[in-house]
Every structure is written in structure tokens, then in C-alpha cells.
Symmetry: C2
Subunit: 320 residues, 2 copies
């Protein structure tokens, strides 16, 4: 992570206050752009989540999309829809949440629009840069590639469960697990440094972020690469397991279908994987667990005991 005020800052020529912002793209790089909208009651619950966390999550989701291309985020614009009932304090706190995370990733908020709307609506756009040779896409995976993920899954879904249930429920869960799950939902960390590091390897053939649910996202990566996929060992976050057990849910479903973990999924050349995973662990002090492989056979499968069964891709459906 670069400090704010570094090279990215200097390239920005016009910020907030003119009709548009302007920046100087560096010469050897591609620019990338992503946009995401979050609506109160659909993507977040303003009554249960602090304004700063709403802003943080919106920014995290977009930074994660930039990270999944292997790019470095540079700038962001924000369109904010607000009901008349929302006061200035909420807006400032929300902005602080966006701004805090953006600054840690050397990303400058250069402009936006505030409009009246019936529900709080945040539309963020983030622009990043990546050298053309390092750009990673969903396509590019090959049959036989190892599928791996930058961290264990399901904690965000567990955090949402804590919000949904009464206070008595969460008292059954270990303090550390409860706090970890709550943080994973409220203030998720986009894997920006990890994405740029992984993108530097030619042995990483495809990359995407796990924002809608592991099963649906692995299926998308496999399809884009013209392959199928088999999941063999899905890493479940300890906090997800603790909350799921207390809730009487299957922890595996939190990991497979929960979404919003914002870990990166990569397809890696099989001969290079062990070495890459060791280097990743030395660099980030965390493992890069393998969870399965891309296959020539289309479709999505999961190994349970010794047997394979077909797995239906499920996750966050944006229009559900």
C-alpha cells in the first residue's frame, strides 16, 4: 500500500469542484474502471450498521473489483442519494468511512453528486491502473489449474447473521469469533496489495474477487475460461463456523453462498502453485489455500467424503 499523497495524488490535475475531474494516466499502463451501487435495505441496513461502515463497505466492494484485475486504484467518484430524513452527520460519517479506506489504498475521491432519493443509495466508481502485461481477467484459466483463494470464507455472512438475530443469540458465541465476524461484515478489507502481487506472476492465469458467493463466483471464472471446476477443500473462517453452529446452520453454506468476503480467487498453473503459495505466505503472513481445480469437464462439482456431487452455484442475487 502506498501512502496517500504519493504518485497517484500528483497525477490528479483537477479534483472536486469543476465539471469533471482530470488525471494524467501513466504511459505504460491500462486504466480500469468499475462501478457499484448499494441501496439501504437491499445491500445494507442503515438502522443496524454505522454510517462509516456503510461508506467503508461501498468503497471496499469497488476497490476489490479493481484489485481483482491486478490493478492499483487511483481515484473514485461518489453519487449519493439521500432521503430528507438523513442528516449531515450521517453523510459526514459515511464519507469518513469511504475516505479512510480509500486513503489507505492511495485512492483519492475526486468528485461526485448528492441527490434526493427515497432510500440511501451509494453509487461508487473507482478507476485504477495496471501495466498491460499484468492485467488479469476471469478468462484465461486452463483445465488443470489450481484454484486458490486469499483467505478463508463465510465470515461476512456470519456477521450479517449476528445483525439479523437478537442480542441473546450472539452471547452464545466466543467474543473473538463474534468480533471477527462483525468486522468482516462491517469493514471488510479489499485485497489490493494481494491482487497486485498475484497479478505480477505469469502463472496466475485468471483472477476475480469473491463478492457474490464462492460457488457462483468460481462457476463464473470457470465458464469465462471455458472450463468446469471442482471444489475439494473449501477454507471456512473459524468465526463463520462458530456463528453457523450457534445458528443451527451449515458452516459450508456460509462459505459457498455467503458472498461479500472480498477474497480473491485465482487459477494458477499447477506446477507453479506450491512455490507461489510459499512466496505469498512469506509476503502476507497468511496462507494461500488451494480449494480445487479447473477441469475440462464443464459444470461445478464439490468433493464430499470420497465422492463428487454436482453443486448448484448459489450466492447473492442482485435482483432477488
Amino acid at each position: 500500500v502506498e501512502p496517500a499523497g504519493g504518485a497517484a495524488e500528483r497525477r490528479i490535475r483537477v479534483g472536486i469542484g469543476d465539471d469533471a475531474a482530470a488525471w494524467q494516466p501513466s504511459r505504460s499502463h491500462l486504466s480500469v474502471i468499475t462501478t457499484d451501487a448499494l441501496v439501504d435495505g437491499v445491500h445494507f441496513l442503515s438502522e443496524k450498521v454505522e454510517a462509516s461502515a456503510v461508506g467503508h463497505r461501498a468503497m471496499a466492494s469497488n476497490l476489490s473489483d479493481i484489485a481483482s484485475m491486478g490493478a492499483r486504484p487511483v481515484l473514485a467518484t461518489v453519487a449519493l442519494g439521500l432521503p430528507a430524513s438523513i442528516g449531515e452527520d450521517w453523510v459526514l460519517d459515511c464519507y469518513r468511512g469511504m475516505q479512510g479506506l480509500a486513503a489507505r489504498h492511495a485512492t483519492r475521491i475526486v468528485g461526485g453528486d448528492i441527490v434526493r432519493a427515497p432510500a440511501i443509495t451509494l453509487s461508487l466508481t473507482v478507476v485504477g491502473e495496471v501495466s498491460a502485461s499484468r492485467l488479469k481477467r476471469r478468462e484465461g484459466g486452463k483445465a488443470g489449474d489450481v484454484l486458490a483463494v486469499t483467505g478463508p470464507l463465510g465470515a461476512s455472512r456470519a456477521g450479517l447473521e449476528l445483525l439479523r438475530r437478537a442480542a441473546g443469540f450472539s452471547s452464545q458465541i466466543d467474543d473473538g469469533d463474534r468480533e471477527t465476524a462483525a468486522q468482516a461484515y462491517a469493514v471488510p478489507e479489499p485485497r489490493v496489495a494481494e491482487g497486485r502481487w498475484l497479478a505480477a506472476s505469469r502463472n496466475v492465469h485468471a483472477m476475480m474477487d469473491c463478492s457474490d458467493g464462492l460457488s457462483i463466483d468460481v462457476d463464473r471464472l470457470a465458464r469465462a475460461s471455458g472450463c468446469g471446476a471442482t471444489l475439494r477443500q473449501v477454507p471456512i473462517a473459524a468465526s463463520a463456523a462458530a456463528v453457523a453452529v450457534a445458528a443451527g446452520d451449515d458452516p459450508m453454506r456460509y462459505a459457498l453462498e455467503g458472498g461479500e468476503d472480498f477474497e480473491l480467487i485465482v487459477a494458477v498453473a499447477p506446477r507453479a502453485f506450491a512455490h507461489l503459495a510459499r512466496r505469498f505466505e512469506r509476503r502476507f503472513m497468511r496462507p494461500l489455500p488451494a480449494l480445487g481445480s479447473l477441469d475440462e469437464e464443464t459444470g461445478l462439482r464439490i468433493q464430499e467424503g470420497g465422492a463428487l456431487r454436482e453443486l448448484t452455484p448459489r450466492g447473492w442475487d442482485h435482483l432477488a
Copy 2:
């Protein structure tokens, strides 16, 4: 206007379907970005305006911001919030409206997000490019500069009045004026070619689009340039005058406060203005009327008869 599929198209490397879109900025250019949100019931009336016009207007508003920097639009992203009551036909028509206008300005829609929302919400972001020496801002105007505008004003406000009033009202108005006003509101034309042409002149010191109302926008340009401004001859669209008279309104208010005309306001070196205006008229088959000047004295004034009076900047207030 360049054909779609030209140079801008070739620079786009990744479009819809991946986590983010990617493009190759040209080497000697700045990139510019703008974002705008439109909400049903606030910025448009989906019951009274066709879906294609809603899409067109949202795109026009963003292209106009790019034009006002002197830039060429390159690509757009769209975040669309939809209530459950809105069907696929509406979405497709809206997209056609955006896409049709974007294509005429060689701008490609590269991605977006569709989410559930309590009211139709369109958040567009457009990225453009401009050579660093041609970038025009609101600041840069000098006391004594001629203020001019790329077309007469008030027609969009007149079109809105036609929508608001009963059918009997519009029957009092000449067919041509009625149609012109309705079109100015429903499918406004951003001045993209005009903006690029004006930006090529060093004698154009400052430029912005007239989207919130002439009085408020001239005041903004003047303040950004450290000046005041005097309006002497405001060009009122014939259709605006016809509708205002039928409505018992003051036509000048439509022009000064109406907004959404999307004409460009420029501050031009006084010695160069007559020549620039003649060249503009030859190039675009339309005059570039002078409407006043930037002054050393701060504040906004308007000449009425032989006298000057203070003018309160009024226009579209985004949170009114």
C-alpha cells in the same frame, strides 16, 4: 462527432462481464471523469417521460460535463436501481436511449451494476480524454472577458412546464414551439463537438456547462475565476418565450433559472471574441451569442433598460 467503432473503441481492452473494464489512455492526453445520479420523481418523471428519454437525458448530462472540460468522451459505466414494478421493457428502452446518444459521440458503455431500489435511480459515470494543453476549467476567466453561450436558453424549462400542465394548456402554443420545447427537455443535445472546438482556442479562458441555471452557473464560473459578472443580453429560446407567455410566466426566468439546457458558457478574451464567434458560426451554423462579461467587481448583476441591478443566483437546487 466520430463514428462509434473508431479510435476510442479500439483503446477499450475489456468491456462488460469482467470485474472492471480496461482501456488504454492515449499518451499525450489527460483523462477526465464525471458522475451524475438521476432519481425518479426528483430529476425525471417516469410516468410522463419515455424510458428512452430518461436514459438519453442521463447520458446527455454526463457527456455535457465532459464537453465542458473540452474533452472527448470515451466510455461510460451505469449503475441502475430498479423497483420490482419496473419491467424488462423499460430497462431495455432506457438503455437504448443511453446507448443511442453515447454511440453518436463515440462513447462505449463498458459496464455497470443493476440493483433493487425503491425508486428508479440512474448513476452514470463517463470518462473522457483531452490533451493537457486544452483542458478548460471554471477557473481561468479574467475580468473583462466576454461571456458567451453556445445557444439560447430556457427551452428545457419550457418543456418541463408542458409536462406539468394539462393537455389544454399546450394547445395554445404553436406546434413548432411546443415540439422544440418538448424535445429540449426530453432529449437534450450535449455540446460535445462545440466543447472540443472551443477548447482548442487559447482565447477561451474558462468553460462550463449550463446545467443548473444560467444565473447560478455564471456566478459559479465568475467566483471560480475570482471575478464578478454582468449579464447584458440573455438569449432566450423562442420556444421558451412562447411557453412562458402562455403560462403567464416571465420568459427571462426560464432562461436565467431553468437549467438543463446543457449549453456551454465560455469566458473569452475580449479582443478575440468577434473572430471566434464568426468562426464558430461558420463551423456550427449557429451563433455564439455574447451575454455579458466578467468584472473585477465581485457579485452578479443584470442590465435592465439602462440600469444594472444585483441578480440573485437561482437554479436547480439538488437538495430542494
